[in-house]
Structures are given as C-alpha cells and as structure tokens.
C-alpha cells in the first residue's frame, strides 16, 4: 500500500513537472506581451510531430529532437509575431482569441493533411524505461522532461536576469510605453519573446513525444491543460507554471487514486475555478493587466 502511495506521489510530481513545461511557453508570452496564445496547444502538437519524425525517420534521440523543435518553432514564432500577431497586440481580447483560433485551425489542418489522423507514436525506447529507486519506479521519459524543464527554466531566468536583452524584455513587460519612450526595440523584443514562447511549446512537445502519441486534434486538450496549469500557478510567472503543474499533477494523481479516476479532470477544473475566484492572479501571478 505504501509502495502504491509512493509511486503515485512520484508519478504525480513528475507528471506535474511535465505539465509545467508544457505550460511554460504560454506563460512567457503572456508575461511580456500580455496576450493569451490560444494556439499554444497546436504548437505543442507541432513539437510532438517533430519528436515523432526525428525518432521514427532518423532515429534521433528525443532530447536532440527537442532542441531542433525549439529552434524550428522559434523561427516560426518570430516570423508569426512579426508578420501577424504584432498587429493585434493592442486589440481587444476577443479579437486576439479569434486570431489564435484561426492560427490553431491552420496548424491543426496542416498537421492533418501532412500526417493524417492516425496517432503517431514515438518509437523511442524511453517510452518503456524506468529507474527504480527503492520500491519506487521513476518514469525515465518524464524524468528527462522534468529535468530539462528545470534546466530550461533556470536558463531562461538567467537570460532574463543577467543578459542585456533579457533586461530589455523585463522592462518591456513592466511598462511597454515607458520602454518605447526610452528607445527599447519593442518590436524586436516582442518578436523574440513570442519566438521563445513558441520554442518552449515546441521543445516541450518533442520532449513529451515518448509519452503522448501525436495526433492533430490534441491541440485543444493541450491548450486547456496549459491554461489550467498556468492559471493555477499565475499567468506570466515561471515559477508559477511549475507550481501550477505540480499542483495539478498531484491533484490528478491522488484524485485518481482516491476517487473515480474518470472525475479527475473535473477536480482540476474545480480547483482552477476556486483559484481563479479566490486568487485570480494565481499563486505567483503577474500584476493586473
């Protein structure tokens, strides 16, 4: 019994970190540009497909594929921001919502055309491996994703804190108008941030490809998942994404153990509602928009 609890705890924590990394891209973009990227899930699925192709066609390890997916989506995100999203930054939320729904549809449709509707499972050996720590088994793919999540967050935090461009980004996040006035290259900052956000989504997608089979219409599920995670943690905060992920991961794991597993997503949405009402900015939320 204790082993079961231990395993559930471990699995909840690892899954939570995986949720955290899935949500990271969403939170970065919101934190700086103040737009909610509803096409986030489609970008994650994009990454999943990159991970699948890398593994199935060229036998590239997941972690290398993740770097590739990150680079690819950085370019995509940078381009998308410069060409399209830029014009919508100051527009009302509902217009942005439609824009991103449109982008998401285009991505999902393109994925459906390119890969067909069949689930594309990763062929990585990671899908089956575990490390035993005493009686507790740790899932290797999740462990890898969680570790990379931690590294990525540290690297990003370091970049934002110490590099000059990172300072620009933080300044732009704090006060767009002020930044413009002192001559910050706001368009470049926004495009880069959007690129980083997309890269996080893509990298996360590739990293979790041993866990989830790629399918075009998973996008909505991933978007919702990222929302729940980010909102519980606080939109716009890195630590929040991780804490939110952990909260959701653990809640789901223990809900599945103690109550009906089929109701576990009800529980996470319930939790989300409570958090939104009681602490709308989440645990580590950004300031009022």
């Amino acid at each position: 019994m204790l082993t079961l609890w231990g395993n559930v705890l471990a699995s909840g924590i690892l899954m939570g970190l995986v949720y955290g990394i899935i949500a990271l891209g969403l939170t970065i973009i919101f934190g700086v540009i103040r737009i909610v990227n509803f096409a986030h899930g489609a970008m994650v699925v994009f990454g999943l497909y990159v991970g699948y192709c890398a593994g199935a066609w060229w036998g590239i390890p997941t972690i290398v594929a993740a770097v590739g997916a990150g680079a690819l989506l950085f370019v995509f995100g940078y381009g998308l921001e410069t060409l399209v999203v830029k014009r919508f930054v100051t527009r009302p939320h509902h217009i942005q919502f439609i824009l991103f729904i449109g982008i998401s549809l285009v991505l999902s449709g393109a994925q459906l055309i390119a890969f067909g509707p069949d689930p594309r499972p990763s062929v990585s050996h990671l899908s089956f491996e575990t490390i035993a720590v005493g009686p507790i088994r740790l899932d290797l793919a999740r462990l890898q994703a969680a570790t990379v999540a931690a590294v990525m967050i540290l690297a990003l935090a370091g970049f934002l804190k110490y590099s000059t461009f990172g300072r620009f980004i933080r300044a732009a996040a704090d006060n767009r108008l002020g930044g413009l006035m002192v001559g910050l290259p706001i368009p470049k900052i926004y495009a880069t941030t959007f690129g980083i956000g997309a890269a996080c989504a893509g990298g996360a997608g590739a990293l979790i490809s041993p866990l989830f089979d790629a399918q075009p219409f998973l996008a909505v599920d991933f978007t919702l998942l990222a929302f729940v995670t980010v909102i519980v943690g606080g939109l716009g905060s890195f630590v929040g994404a991780l804490v939110g992920g952990l909260t959701i991961g653990l809640t789901e794991a223990f809900a599945a153990l103690l109550f009906a597993p089929s109701l576990k997503s009800a529980l996470s949405y319930g939790l989300l509602m409570i958090v939104l009402i009681v602490r709308p900015r989440g645990f580590f939320g950004a300031k009022e928009t």
Partner: protein, 410 residues
C-alpha cells in the same frame, strides 16, 4: 478520391485487377439485367476529433464500391460528406447528399451524427445503412429508415465474454482475478455496463475485482495502472481507444506488471497499426474482440490484398471493414430491388439475407427495428506486429497463446 471520377474510369481501372476474381467466383448475380445506376451517400467524420476512424471508413466505402461494381455489376457512384465530428452536421450532410440525388445513405460512425442524419433520412424516406454507431437508441427511437450492421454493445460484450470463457476454461493455470480498466466515454461506459451483466450471466470462472474508469482526455494512466496492479488481479480487461491501449501497455511495462491475460472486449489497440508501431515486441500476446474480417472467407484474401495495394500505409481495420460490408449490403439490396428508387431499396433492405462478403458474421438480416441480428465478434491476438484471428475456433488462424510472456523477458 477515385470514386468521384465517375464509374467508367473506375470500372476500367478496377477490371484489370479483377478479371481473375470475377472469373473465379462467377458471381451468380451478374446474369440478371444490369441494375439501374445508384448513388450512395457516405456520411463520415473525415475531419475533427474522429478523423482517424472517419477516414478509415472512407477507405472502406471507396474500396467497397469498387468491389460491388464488379461483383454485382451495380453502377454505383459514391458521394462523401464530412460531419467534421460535430453531431449537428449529421443532418446537414444527409440533406446535402439527398439533395445531390443519393438514393441511399451510409454512415455516420458516431451516434450523435447518426441520429441527426437519420432525421433527414426519415423526412425524405431515404434508407440509411448504419455501418457503425454503438448507442442502442439508434434503432430504438422509432426510425423506419435505419438498418444497422453494427451490433449493440451488449451483444458484442456477451459474445466476447463467451469467447473469453472458452479460452480461460481450456488453459492450464487460468487467471484468478480480473480488473476492468475502461474509458468513461459513450463506448466505454456502455461496454462496461454490459460487461457486468454478461460476466454474471456467463458465470466466468475469473473473479471480477475492480472497475477503474478513466476519462477520455486522460493524459496519463500511471495511477490507474498502479491501482489495477495493486488490486492483485492477474488478468487485465480493458476497454480502450488506440492511444489509451498504448498508454496502458507502456505503463504495465514501466510498472513491471505482467498480467497473464490482456483482453479488450470491443476495444481498439490490437486491431490498429499504431499499436504495433508504438509497442513493437511488447504488443505481442494482447487480445481483443472486434468485428473483423473473416480470414477464411472466400474473398477475404483478395479484398485485403486490394486494400493493401490501394492504401499501402493503412490497414484494413474494423472501421473500413464495416464500411465495406455496408456497401455490399446496399449493393445486394439494389440488385434484388432492381431499382434505384429509395422506397424499393428500403423494402429490399428489409428482406436482406446476405452471407457476409468480408466480415465474420452470421447471415446479415435486419429485424423490425432495423438491427442486424447476424453480427458476430472475432477474437484477435497480436503476434509479430499483426493481429491474428484466434477465435472463434472455426476461423482461427492458430490457437490463442496463453499466458502472456512477461514484458521484461522479451
């Protein structure tokens, strides 16, 4: 899609491969005067969430139409309509097809779209052959134009458990306890409900220990599998879609749980290509019961080969199989009615008594509600990256292997 290019091209293309087939079988129907041209509308969820089964059905329809043209000499045109996996589009799709002059409809995979399409069919008095749709209500709501090939969940489950009983009573060291891991969606819940009743009715010698339902959108089944393992069961009965089936086996491996039997009544996974792509050698031994083609049927080999040569990267699965069979049911009715008038096709469908062409099944007959009474399941087992039929005995390719080889020893 080839079927849209018109019958002439198709017939010519098809003839090349089919001369041998036609000569060999000497179909007795061909002698009658050629039946009138008929337009068949196929309503499928080709995009959206259900695109995977939907497109599989489309392939079955197209191949089925080619086959029916040769076998029955029916000049059959197929028009496809996509519901985008939304129920409200069922009716729009049906009306659009009827508007384009379709004499008979086939569809629509999910029960919501099927019911919605049936309303249009009912209003226009156009018969609709439901190749797949699991809800009982499809045939119990008083529609007069419905002919459902697919059996209700309860029938599938009872037959599946009968097969499972035959298996566990014939082996040494049968499993003692079973745990049921099932989806909590429409298909999963109805299957689980019938499972409970059928298990008692058939008095299976395996103890049913626990039901573990999980959400369709579940992203992780580690806790569910841990719970199943902790229940002490040595047989896993699962009701899954492909993705979940893969996830469950992966978790079993990771958590070092080696049940003696993995059996999935009315479940996906074992019949699907993705299952083998994902699991490789770990897929072997898992079993499921499905509507499946009869490997010993007269035309099965030809049809499967035709399918393979047309769609190199796809498998002929239960979805395309049922869709294929539905086209044959329509063609048979058109030939007997010698008419393309909907009401006459409907009357002919009512009198259907067809020996199945591709699927394993008893004679296809529709009762007063429009339900096919002949449908039967087969038991499949995964072996060497392919599903093989291991039951019922009459059509088995080999005797089911039991118990499962522990995962770490593969």
């Amino acid at each position: 899609m080839t079927s849209l290019k018109g019958p002439l091209i198709n017939r010519r293309v098809a003839m090349k491969g089919a001369v041998g087939l036609a000569a060999a079988t000497m179909a007795p129907w061909v002698r009658a005067a050629a039946p009138p041209p008929v337009k068949v509308g196929a309503i499928m969820p080709s995009s959206g969430i259900l695109a995977f089964p939907g497109q599989s059905c489309v392939r079955g329809i197209d191949l089925g139409a080619k086959f029916a043209r040769e076998r029955y000499g029916v000049d059959m045109t197929v028009v496809h309509a996509d519901t985008q996996s939304k129920p409200e589009n069922g009716r729009i799709a049906a009306d659009s097809l009827i508007q384009q002059g379709c004499n008979v409809l086939i569809g629509a995979w999910d029960s919501g779209a099927t019911i919605s399409a049936l309303q249009a069919a009912e209003a226009a008095k156009i018969p609709m052959v439901v190749h797949i749709a699991s809800a009982n209500q499809v045939t119990s709501q008083g529609f007069t134009q419905v002919f459902r090939f697919y059996p209700p969940a309860a029938t599938i489950v009872r037959q599946s458990l009968a097969e499972m009983k035959a298996l566990v009573t014939s082996v040494n060291d049968p499993p003692k306890g079973a745990v049921v891991l099932h989806l909590s969606n429409t298909m999963g819940t109805s299957t689980a409900t019938s499972l409970d009743a059928a298990w008692k009715e058939l008095d299976l010698p395996v103890k049913l220990l626990e039901y573990i339902p999980y959400d369709e959108k579940a992203r992780d089944l580690s806790v569910e599998v841990a719970k199943a393992k902790a229940s002490g069961a040595d047989a896993l009965v699962s009701v899954t879609r492909v993705n979940d089936a893969i996830m469950i086996i992966r978790e079993c491996i990771k958590q070092a749980w080696n049940p003696k039997l993995i059996f999935s009544p009315n479940g996906n996974g074992v019949p699907d290509k993705a299952f083998y792509d994902a699991l490789g050698k770990y897929a072997d031994g898992a079993m499921s019961s499905n509507l499946w083609y009869n490997p010993k049927g007269e035309d099965a080999r030809t049809i499967v080969d035709r399918f393979q040569s047309t769609y190199a990267n796809e498998w002929l699965d239960a979805n395309s199989g049922c869709a294929f069979e539905a086209v044959q049911i329509v063609a048979d009715a058109v030939v007997r009615a010698r008419s393309a008038v909907s009401s006459e096709i409907c009357a002919a469908l009512k009198a259907t008594d067809l020996k199945p062409i591709l699927m394993y099944s008893g004679p296809i007959k529709f009762d007063a509600t429009g339900q096919n009474t002949g449908a039967a399941v087969t038991v499949l087992q995964a072996k060497e990256s392919k599903p093989h039929v291991v039951g019922p005995d009459a059509i088995a390719e080999y005797k089911a292997r039991y118990p499962l080889v522990p995962f770490e020893k593969r």
